[in-house]
């Protein structure tokens, strides 16, 4: 129970500004690589409690490995509006927009958020390094581009109690901060920005700060958050919740067109479920022509949620004399989907949802088989043998609580 086996180690990977704290809390000492950093897989031997912290209490995640770029200057808005598929012209100061961006062929390079920090200053986040692509497209524009990846540290505080905790720590109330808006405030005397964003599909916030303040912010949150059930949380729990929220992950659910090697690996925004984020009425943006053409002929693939049907799944395991073998972590193995004898798609990530009690997955499915309610067969391995078991196309997000968007009156 209280074994405190201390050790020190050496790593070639980058350490987050929170590492001094997170490394002491990581009981299994399990880390994943995330953007060249060490990122905690889970803080406890099992991630169960962390998962439920996201859904019932408040989870604290170190998201410093996110790539961040500051775009500043008179042409900043014009530039971003051309770079991404969302309409940045209507993005107000203090507003945040989630958006993909594409190459000239309309294939997705990356996805992230654009924060409008002031009239002429934006921060864009991404999963992979994008500085080269951003600079390449800014030629002739009156703006500066700064890599903010190491100059801003970030935490995500996600879960139904996250607002209560921030209200207890921040000098301003968070009550009126709307979904996908942000504000500046202070924790004691430490300046922070808080955006109402996240990767869990729950009520949640992301806190942006100077790395030198990172440890103080961490300590303050843990101290004030204790009675609200704040729980340091790792990537295992996050991965389940982002699937429940129907949110895609680069290199898992799609491949950046910049690294795709072959054409078939590339996806348009329509093919990764981001059609809603493509504003075709915009005058121009990178990839617009190609996307127009794609829309005209209809996208070949669709990105959907599927639910693996319980009854038949259970029967497969019962026949083998076993209780249903449910994955306790999210999986990322591409898994075939069939209609009859033809493979018509593949699931790219899936998880047993502990809160929904449903076995869910995100999948690429040929458009003609992708409508809601469409019945497919999912490949399952039971005791080393391949079986096909029914799965149904369902709406995403799988989990979408009202609190995600609502504000206290």
């Amino acid at each position: 129970m209280s074994y405190k086996n201390e050790f020190t180690g050496i790593t070639q990977l980058r350490l987050s500004p929170f590492f001094e704290r997170t490394s002491k809390l990581n009981e299994p000492q399990e880390w994943k690589r995330w953007g060249g950093y060490l990122a905690a897989t889970s803080y406890e031997l099992h991630h169960d409690n962390e998962y439920f912290a996201i859904r019932t209490k408040a989870a604290l995640l170190d998201i410093s490995p996110l790539k961040k770029y500051i775009i500043e200057g008179p042409d900043a808005q014009k530039f971003l509006d051309r770079l991404v598929t969302r309409n940045i012209k209507i993005c107000k100061v203090g507003q945040v927009m989630y958006t993909p961006w594409c190459d000239e062929d309309g294939k997705v390079i990356d996805d992230g958020t654009v924060q409008r920090l002031s009239e002429n200053k934006f921060r864009i986040t991404s999963a992979e390094p994008n500085l080269d692509w951003i600079q390449h497209n800014a030629a002739g524009m009156d703006l500066t581009i700064t890599d903010d990846s190491y100059t801003t540290a970030a935490l995500a505080l996600q879960g139904p109690n996250s607002r209560d905790i921030l209200n207890a720590v921040a000098s301003d109330s968070l009550d009126s901060l709307k979904f996908f808006w942000m504000m500046d405030t202070t924790f004691d005397d430490i300046p922070v920005s808080i955006s109402r964003t996240g990767y869990t599909g729950d009520l949640g916030y992301e806190i942006w700060m100077d790395p030198k303040d990172a440890l103080s912010v961490w300590d303050l949150l843990l101290e004030k958050g204790k009675s609200f059930g704040i729980t340091p949380t790792g990537l295992n729990a996050l991965d389940i919740s982002r699937i429940e929220a129907g949110l895609i992950l680069l290199d898992v659910d799609y491949v950046s067109s910049r690294h795709a090697i072959i054409e078939s690996r590339k996806s348009s925004p329509f093919e990764v479920g981001l059609g809603w984020a493509v504003k075709m009425k915009k005058k121009d943006f990178i990839g617009k022509k190609a996307l127009e053409a794609e829309l005209a002929r209809g996208p070949e693939w669709n990105f959907v949620g599927i639910e693996i049907q319980w009854h038949e799944l259970e029967q497969h395991y019962r026949k083998a004399g076993l209780a249903p073998g449910l994955p306790c972590t999210a999986w990322r193995t591409s898994t075939p989907l069939y209609k009859g004898s033809e493979q018509v798609g593949y699931a790219t990530s899936g998880a047993w949802s502990p809160i929904l009690k449903r076995y869910i997955a995100l999948a690429h499915v040929k458009s003609e088989y992708a409508s809601e309610g469409s019945e497919l067969m999912f490949e399952l391995k039971v005791e080393h043998f391949r079986k096909l078991t029914p799965a149904k196309v369902v709406k995403t997000p799988f989990f979408d609580p009202e609190r995600k968007r609502s504000c206290p009156v």
Partner: protein
């Protein structure tokens, strides 16, 4: 002036099984009315704010046996079912402790501190019991046959079960026979040697039962607790966010969604029986409601000896019901705390406070507690199963404060001289003193204390003798004998009168199963 309204079915009692039956019937298109005596739904699966800001799962406090198909078919996650993992069992001892957690390596290490042999046996025990759970699952999912005058369908399902049993391995058969007949202590002695481990494990064989760990038959009760699975893993306990009342509320919301009407503060006085046929109910306030069928979610004693006249029932059946064993053996103490208990053997906060805390240091501790009860007293040093819900779900208590739920055994219903206020407080003191033996700070942090004796449980929640399972889970009153032979398939000697409480197969716990199977039986015969 008596009101008259016509329903297809009326469910007496808004406990979780009554609500489950109502939801299934409503889902099938029936016009259903649920009548609950109290102001709040849930029966024994109820959450109440007993002290301002402090919410308690007043009676039933954990969930493990809720049937997965019920969750899905009634869409309970959508209506608020959220089960948080209760991940450990912590047994404080006088100078040491034992802990078992969800992590196999940690559990191995902790048991091996006491016995390497046990640590290894423990790794085999869980899967073995899981397989037994799988083996008996078909029994639990079968509507019990009429063993005296079996119908054709009774015969065919009996054959199916026999065929299933032929598929069991000899090892499974051996364990099953042993579990059906032995005491939990004898059964566990075959596996383990470290006394506190055996005692803690045997405790699930005495819960809700007027037996000690050395009483034959207690091994079955232990098995009953192994039959649940959450998300496919057997023997996983869960805590419902917001307390167990939220399980009931999720079922109630599902029932309402499907069109059932639910009334609280509507105590039923009598089921109206005409010409041997149930035709409606009369409320205590004189209101009457008519329906094609009436379903009782109450325990067998209330269902047959209070809700209807004995004269409407065959006398041998009345005798069976009178002999049905429903002795109350447990009490519940709910504490509102100013902080967390600090255990001498494992000081400070930690994971050990996030699961069950079992006061079961030895067989002798449990047996002595049972001895007190055998002779008509509450246990001076009781067995307890304690959880701290606010550690898992901070909303159960004000920030920084906590709630503690103590399931306490033994507290006999038939206590010498009867229960009264002094005895209740003395019982509460015995509980607090026993906790203080292991966590001395408890006395300083208690803000409020709610003590429920079996008599209180009976009068408040309507559980006869305060028995949490609507009747003990002993072999002679299971399956085709629960609650009585010939009437174990949810029907009763009165036409159109059905039963769906924990006093029917497959018994107690928050399972939804009696309610579900009763509804399916009713829908199967509904003309």
């Amino acid at each position: 002036m008596p009101s008259v309204k016509k329903y297809d079915a009326i469910v007496v009692g808004g406990g979780h099984n009554g609500l489950t039956a109502a939801a299934y019937l409503a889902k099938a298109g029936k016009k259903v009315l649920v009548l609950e005596r109290r102001y709040v739904l849930g029966g024994a699966a109820v959450t109440e704010e007993v002290f301002p800001g402090f919410k308690f799962s007043v009676c039933s406090y954990v969930v493990s046996l809720m049937k997965p198909n019920v969750m899905r078919e009634l869409m309970l996650p959508k209506f608020g079912l959220e089960l948080l993992p209760l991940e450990s069992t912590f047994t404080p001892l006088d100078n040491d402790y034992l802990i078992r957690t969800a992590d196999a390596d940690e559990t191995y290490r902790e048991i091996a501190r006491h016995s390497v042999r046990d640590a290894e046996a423990y790794m085999r025990f869980g899967p073995a019991m899981g397989q037994i759970g799988m083996a008996v699952r078909p029994i639990l999912e079968t509507i019990a046959p009429n063993a005296i005058r079996p119908s054709l369908s009774d015969l065919s399902k009996t054959k199916k079960l026999l065929d299933h049993f032929k598929t069991l391995s000899s090892e499974q058969f051996e364990y099953l026979t042993k579990l059906m007949t032995m005491s939990s202590a004898d059964f566990l002695d075959e596996w383990f040697e470290f006394e506190p481990l055996k005692a803690s494990m045997s405790a699930s064989g005495i819960i809700g039962t007027f037996m000690g760990p050395r009483s034959p038959g207690s091994a079955y009760v232990m098995l009953h607790h192994y039959m649940g699975d959450i998300d496919g893993s057997f023997r996983a306990w869960g805590f419902q966010r917001g307390g167990t009342g939220e399980v009931s509320m999720a079922i109630a919301r599902s029932a309402s969604h499907f069109g059932a009407e639910i009334m609280t503060e509507a105590p039923v006085e009598k089921v109206i029986v005409k010409n041997g046929k149930a035709v409606g109910v009369a409320l205590e306030n004189g209101d009457e409601y008519q329906s094609d069928i009436v379903i009782s979610g109450l325990d067998p004693k209330l269902t047959f000896l209070k809700m209807v006249d004995e004269n409407d029932l065959p006398s041998d059946f009345v005798t069976d019901i009178k002999n049905f064993r429903i002795r109350g053996s447990s009490g519940k103490v709910n504490l509102a705390l100013d902080g967390l208990p600090d255990f001498t053997c494992l000081p400070g906060e930690g994971h050990h406070l996030r699961g069950a805390i079992s006061i079961s240091p030895s067989y002798d501790h449990l047996e002595r507690a049972y001895d007190d009860a055998k002779y008509g007293n509450f246990s001076q040093e009781p067995y307890m199963d304690i959880i701290l819900p606010s550690v898992l779900d901070p909303e159960m208590a004000p920030p920084g404060k906590h709630v503690m739920s103590c399931f306490v055994q033994y507290a006999p219903y038939d206590i010498k001289g009867g229960w009264n206020d002094q005895k209740r407080e003395a019982f509460g003191d015995a509980v607090v003193n026993t906790i203080a033996r292991f966590a001395p700070n408890i006395k300083d942090i208690i803000l409020h204390r709610q003590v429920l004796t079996p008599a209180d449980i009976e009068s408040t929640f309507g559980l006869t003798e305060g028995n949490i399972f609507h009747g003990e889970l002993t072999l002679q009153q299971l399956f085709a004998l629960r609650p009585a032979v010939k009437w174990a398939d949810y029907s009763t000697p009165i036409r159109n009168y059905y039963q769906c409480g924990s006093g029917t197969h497959p018994g107690g716990g928050i399972t939804g199963s009696p309610g579900e199977m009763a509804a399916k039986k009713i829908l199967g015969v509904w003309k």
